[in-house]
C-alpha cells in the first residue's frame, strides 16, 4: 500500500485532525528518553477509543506496515523509537479513568492516563495506586503495563505486574481480547502476566484493571549517612535480616549527593561521606515507631555518622524530592549521560560497586550511583561528552561492561527500564540462544509478521545497532506536553 493511500485510510478512521504527517510534528515522536537513538515515524495517529485502535491495527496489519504504540515517551530503553519507520499510535488521548470500585479495590483506566493522576483521583477517599516510577508525573499506566515499571516503593509492594489484574488488548492482527481476571485467578495460562512487560511487542492495551490500595495509616522516613559505602550496604542487608520490609530503601553515593545539593531540593549532605540511605517504613501508627527505632539501632550498629527520622512532612518531602530528582540533578553536571538499570543480589552490592568503580577508572568516565538498595536495583549513571569523538561508543561499552558485572553477580541487565533497543545485545549475557528462541517463538505466535513494535526486546541474530547521536541541546529541550518530554531521565 502506498503511504498516501494508507494515510487516507487512517484519516477515514480517526478524521484529519488526529493524524500527523508533517516532519516537524513527526519529530516529536522520534523516540523516548533513551536519547542515543532517534528515528522518524511514517505517521502518528491518535485514537480516542478502543474501536479506533482495532480499526487502525487491522488496517496496518493488512497493509503489512509496522506500528508501535506509545504513551508519554518517558521510557529509558528506547522501546518507543520508530526504528523501522513505524506508524506511531499515540495513546495519550485515551486517558480516562473509566471506573473506580472502592469496595472491591479496583480501578479501570485507559492506557494514556498519567500514573500519578490515578492516585490523585482516589487519594481523598484514602486510596492509592502503588507503582511509583520516578516519572510518575508524566508517564502513563499503559507505559507502566508495557514496561512492567517499578519505583521506589516496589520493595514492599511489588512492581506493575503485581498490581494489574486484567486488561483489554488489541492483538497485532486487530483482534480484541480480554485477559486476566478482575478477581481471583484467571483460568488457563497467565496471558496477562506474559503481556505485562512485553514492551508493546505482543499487542496494544486499551483498558487496564488495576488494584488500588489503602493509603497506609502512618509513615516514618529515616535518613542515614555513612562514612563508608560498605557499612551502608551491611546496614541495608541487616534491616532486611531483622525481618523488616521497608516500603523503600534508596542509596546514593557522594557524586550524586553533591549533584542533588546543587539542584532544586538541597538537603545539605556532608561532602565527606560515601553514602546516604533513605529508608521508609509504613503501616499502622501503633507499629511504625517501633520499626523505625529498630532501623536507627541497626544503622548505629553499622557505624552510621548521622541518622535521623523525619520530624515533619516537609522534611520527608525534601528528602524524597532530592532522591527523585537525582537523575535530573546529575544530568545537569554533564553534557551527556546514560542511565543503567542493572540488578545484583542485595548481598553482592559492595562487590559490584567496587567493580563498577574499577571499570569507571579504566574507561576514564565518571560513574555515579543511585539505586534501590533494598532490591539490589542499581542505576549507575555514566557521564560523557558526545562531542568528543568516540566517547559515546566508549560510554556505551562501559555500560555493557557494568551490566556484565551485574549478570556475573547473579543479577539482571534490567530491573525496571526494560530492554527496548538499548539492551538488545546485553540479552545475550543472560540468555542462551535457545532461551531467546523460546521467547521469539512466543512473539511469533502473538505477532507473526513482527509488525507490532518490531526489533525490540529480543535480539535477532547478527543485528547491529546503529548508534546515532543526539545533541546536548536537543536532549535538554523541554516541551510543554508530556508526550514531547525528552529532557529528563527517570529511574
Amino acid at each position: 500500500m502506498e503511504d498516501s493511500q494508507l494515510i487516507e485510510e487512517l484519516v477515514n478512521i480517526v478524521g484529519p485532525k488526529r493524524i500527523y504527517t508533517d516532519p516537524e510534528q513527526l519529530e516529536r515522536y522520534n523516540g523516548d528518553a533513551y536519547s542515543v537513538q532517534k528515528a522518524l515515524p511514517r505517521a502518528v495517529v491518535i485514537p480516542e477509543n478502543t474501536e479506533e485502535v482495532v480499526k487502525i491495527v487491522k488496517l496496518l496489519n493488512r497493509a503489512g506496515v509496522p506500528f508501535l504504540a506509545r504513551g508519554a515517551g518517558t521510557g529509558l530503553s528506547g522501546g518507543a523509537i520508530p526504528l523501522h519507520h513505524e506508524v506511531v499510535i499515540s495513546m495519550m488521548k485515551m486517558n480516562k479513568l473509566l471506573s473506580v470500585d472502592l469496595d472491591n479495590m479496583r480501578a479501570v483506566v485507559q492506557p494514556g492516563l498519567v500514573t500519578i493522576k490515578l492516585t490523585r483521583k482516589i487519594k481523598d477517599k484514602g486510596y492509592y495506586f502503588a507503582p511509583d516510577p520516578s516519572s510518575e508525573a508524566l508517564c502513563t499506566i499503559g507505559g507502566n503495563f508495557a514496561e512492567n515499571a517499578g519505583g521506589a516503593h516496589c520493595l514492599k509492594y511489588g512492581v506493575s505486574t503485581n498490581h494489574i489484574v486484567a486488561a483489554e488488548v488489541v492483538l497485532p492482527d486487530g483482534e480484541l481480547v480480554h485477559i486476566g481476571s478482575e478477581f481471583g485467578d484467571q483460568v488457563g495460562y497467565d496471558l496477562l502476566g506474559l503481556l505485562v512487560g512485553s514492551e508493546g511487542t505482543l499487542g496494544i492495551v486499551t483498558a487496564i484493571t488495576v488494584k488500588i490500595m489503602k493509603i497506609p495509616e502512618a509513615v516514618k522516613t529515616v535518613l542515614a549517612m555513612f562514612d563508608h559505602l560498605e557499612d551502608a550496604s551491611s546496614a541495608v542487608s541487616n534491616i532486611i535480616g531483622a525481618g523488616i520490609i521497608p516500603a523503600a530503601m534508596e542509596l546514593m553515593d557522594q557524586a550524586t549527593m553533591a549533584a542533588c545539593d546543587k539542584g532544586d531540593a538541597p538537603v545539605g549532605y556532608p561532602t565527606d561521606i560515601e553514602a546516604v540511605v533513605l529508608i521508609e517504613v509504613d503501616g499502622l501508627a501503633a507499629g511504625v515507631v517501633e520499626t523505625s527505632e529498630r532501623i536507627v539501632e541497626i544503622c548505629e550498629k553499622h557505624h552510621v555518622r548521622t541518622v535521623k527520622v523525619a520530624v515533619s512532612d516537609e522534611e520527608r518531602d525534601l528528602w524524597w524530592q532530592s532522591r527523585k530528582t537525582a537523575f535530573v540533578s546529575l544530568g545537569k553536571t554533564t553534557p551527556n549521560y546514560i542511565t543503567l538499570d542493572g540488578v545484583v543480589p542485595r548481598t553482592k552490592l559492595t562487590g559490584a560497586l567496587g567493580r563498577i568503580k574499577e571499570l569507571s577508572e579504566t574507561f576514564g568516565l565518571r560513574v555515579s550511583n543511585v539505586f534501590h538498595a533494598g532490591d539490589g536495583n542499581l542505576h549507575p549513571h555514566i557521564s560523557y561528552d558526545a562531542s568528543v569523538p568516540g566517547e559515546t561508543e566508549k560510554a556505551l561499552s562501559l555500560g555493557g561492561e557494568i551490566l556484565k558485572v551485574c549478570v556475573e553477580a547473579g543479577g539482571s541487565i534490567s530491573g525496571e527500564h526494560g530492554v527496548g533497543v538499548e539492551k538488545l545485545e546485553h540479552m545475550h549475557f543472560m540468555f542462551a540462544d535457545n532461551e531467546l528462541e523460546a521467547q521469539i517463538d512466543i512473539r511469533s505466535f502473538f505477532n507473526p509478521h513482527d509488525l507490532c513494535n518490531p526489533g525490540k526486546l529480543i535480539p535477532s541474530s547478527g543485528k547491529c545497532v546503529e548508534v546515532k547521536q543526539a545533541s546536548w541541546q536537543e536532549k535538554r529541550k523541554k516541551h510543554a506536553k508530556p508526550c514531547d518530554d525528552r529532557g529528563q531521565t527517570y529511574a
Binding site: G188, G193, P345, D375, A438
Partner: protein, 440 residues
C-alpha cells in the same frame, strides 16, 4: 471421555531401560489417580540431565508425559488423555541456592513444600503461601497448580512470588525463564506462563522464589454472625487502615470455631509487629461490637493452632469447587449457594478469601457424580448471577470425566491453545488436563 489407549507400557520400559537402566516401573495406583487407566510407566530421573534426556526420548516417541511430584494434587483440572509416562520429580529435591540476606531461594521441583518451609523457617523466613496441602506435596506441584490459601489476600499468589524457573521443554531443551533477583524485566516474563500451567507446557526443574520474613508476632480475631453482617464487617475491615494478612470467612461446618453464633465467621489475621498486632486486635473487637457481632481473639501459638485446625478439617476433601465473585458480594453469594445446595451426608466447608474474591467449597467422600454435577451447576449459576464464575478445584477421576472443570477456558481458547502449541507443538505434555475432551 476416553483418550487414546496409548503406547504399550512394556515397550516403553524396554526403551527407557536401554538408556537409563532401571529407572522405570509400572504403577497401577498412580495410573488410577491420573486418568483411571490400568497402568502407567513411572520414571524417576535422578537429575536434570536425565530429565532432559528422558524428554528427548518421549518427544521422539511422541509419548504423552505427565510430570508428577508426590501425586497429592492430581485431582486438579480435567482428566488428561492416556498418559504414557509419568515423570516423577521426587529425586530432584535439593535446595540449590538459599541466601537469607537476599530473601531468595532456588529449589528443585521435587522438594517437599513442607520441607522447604521448615528450612526457610530456621532463618526466620517463609514462602508466604498457605494452600491446603498434604505434607508430601512438592514445590513443583505447588507451582504447577498455583496453589494458594488465605494468605493470598496480603502476600499475593505464586504468580507474584515466583521470580525464575529452569524448565525442561517437551523436546528436552533446558530453557530458563526469569532470573534470581527480585526485580527483573529482561525479556518476556515467561515464568508467568508456567505458574498454574498444570504440567501442560514443560517440566519444571528448579524454581526461584522471593521470600518474606516470618511474622515475629501473630494475632487473630474471629468475628461471627449472619451473612449480611459478616459481609459488611469484612468490607469495613478491607476499607480500613488495618493490615489483615488473612481475612477468611468460614461456614458453620467447622467444629473448632469459637463464638456462639457461627453461621458465618470471619478470621482476621495480623502479621505486623507486636504494637500493630495488639492495636489491630483492639480495633477489631470494638468494630465487632459496633456491628453487634460475636468476637474472640487469639494470640501467638493459638493463632497457629487455629490455622492448623482449618487445614486438618479440609485437607482430606476429595471434591472442591472454587467460586470467583467480587469481594463485596462473595459472602452473600456463598450464603445463596449454601441454601440452594442439595442435601449431602456431610455439610460442605466454605472458605472465602474475601478481599481476593475467591471462595472454596470443600466436600468429603463425594462419590456421586450426579450430585457433584448438580452442585457444580448451582455454583456456576449463582456465581454468574453475581458476575463471577466457578470451577472444579479438585475431584475424583470419574467426576471430572463427566464434568468440565474449567468452562471459562472457552473465552480465550485460541490464544491459550496457541501458547500450548508454541511450547508443546506435539502436545505430549499432560494433554487434556486444561482442555476438556481434548484428544490428541
Amino acid at each position: 471421555m476416553e483418550g487414546l489407549t496409548g503406547v504399550d507400557s512394556d515397550r516403553i520400559i524396554d526403551r527407557l531401560t536401554k538408556d537409563f537402566g532401571r529407572l522405570s516401573a509400572i504403577d497401577h495406583d498412580l495410573a488410577a489417580k491420573l486418568t483411571g487407566q490400568r497402568d502407567v510407566v513411572v520414571t524417576t530421573p535422578a537429575n536434570e540431565e536425565q530429565l532432559s534426556a528422558l524428554m528427548r526420548i518421549a518427544h521422539d516417541e511422541k509419548w504423552v508425559v505427565a510430570p508428577v511430584g508426590a501425586g497429592t494434587q492430581l485431582g486438579i483440572g480435567n482428566v488428561p488423555c492416556h498418559i504414557d509416562v509419568a515423570v516423577q520429580m521426587t529425586k530432584l529435591n535439593k535446595i540449590v541456592d538459599y541466601s537469607p540476606a537476599d530473601m531468595v531461594v532456588s529449589v528443585q521441583a521435587g522438594t517437599p513444600f513442607s520441607e522447604l518451609q521448615k528450612i526457610l523457617g530456621q532463618s526466620g523466613q517463609m514462602l508466604p503461601i498457605d494452600p491446603i496441602l498434604n505434607d508430601a506435596a512438592t514445590i513443583g506441584g505447588v507451582v504447577a497448580t498455583n496453589a494458594n490459601g488465605p494468605m493470598r489476600v496480603y502476600y499475593g499468589t505464586l504468580r507474584d512470588l515466583t521470580i525464575g524457573l529452569r524448565t525442561v521443554y517437551p523436546d528436552g531443551r533446558l530453557v530458563r525463564a526469569g532470573g534470581k533477583v527480585v526485580k527483573n524485566v529482561a525479556g518476556y516474563d515467561m515464568t508467568k506462563l508456567f505458574v498454574g500451567s498444570l504440567g501442560t507446557l514443560a517440566c519444571l526443574s528448579e524454581i526461584t522464589f522471593k521470600l518474606r520474613p516470618l511474622p515475629r508476632y501473630r494475632s487473630l480475631s474471629i468475628v461471627s454472625g449472619n451473612a449480611e453482617s459478616v459481609q459488611a464487617f469484612a468490607l469495613k475491615v478491607v476499607g480500613s487502615n488495618l493490615i489483615p494478612s488473612r481475612l477468611e470467612t468460614f461456614s458453620a461446618s467447622y467444629t473448632f470455631l469459637p463464638n456462639d453464633d457461627k453461621r458465618w465467621s470471619v478470621a482476621v489475621d495480623c502479621d505486623e509487629n507486636r504494637g500493630s498486632g495488639k492495636y489491630q486486635l483492639d480495633t477489631l473487637s470494638s468494630l465487632a461490637n459496633e456491628f453487634g457481632l460475636k468476637h474472640t481473639s487469639y494470640e501467638s501459638a493459638d493463632v497457629q493452632q487455629f490455622w492448623r485446625d482449618y487445614r486438618d478439617t479440609v485437607v482430606d476433601s476429595d471434591f472442591a469447587i472454587r467460586v470467583t465473585v467480587q469481594p463485596k458480594l462473595l459472602v452473600l453469594a456463598a450464603e445463596k449457594i449454601k441454601n440452594a445446595l442439595p442435601h449431602t451426608d456431610t455439610d460442605p466447608y466454605f472458605s472465602l478469601s474475601v478481599p481476593a474474591g475467591v471462595g472454596r467449597l470443600f466436600f468429603r467422600n463425594m462419590a456421586d457424580t450426579e450430585l457433584a454435577a448438580q452442585i457444580l451447576k448451582i455454583c456456576r449459576q449463582i456465581s454468574q448471577e453475581y458476575g463471577g464464575f466457578a470451577a472444579i478445584e479438585t475431584g475424583t477421576v470419574p467426576i471430572r470425566q463427566q464434568l468440565n472443570a474449567f468452562d471459562q477456558l472457552s473465552t480465550n481458547l485460541s490464544l491459550l491453545k496457541g501458547v500450548k502449541d508454541t511450547i508443546d507443538p506435539l502436545s505430549i505434555m499432560n494433554t487434556g488436563r486444561f482442555f476438556y475432551g481434548f484428544v490428541r
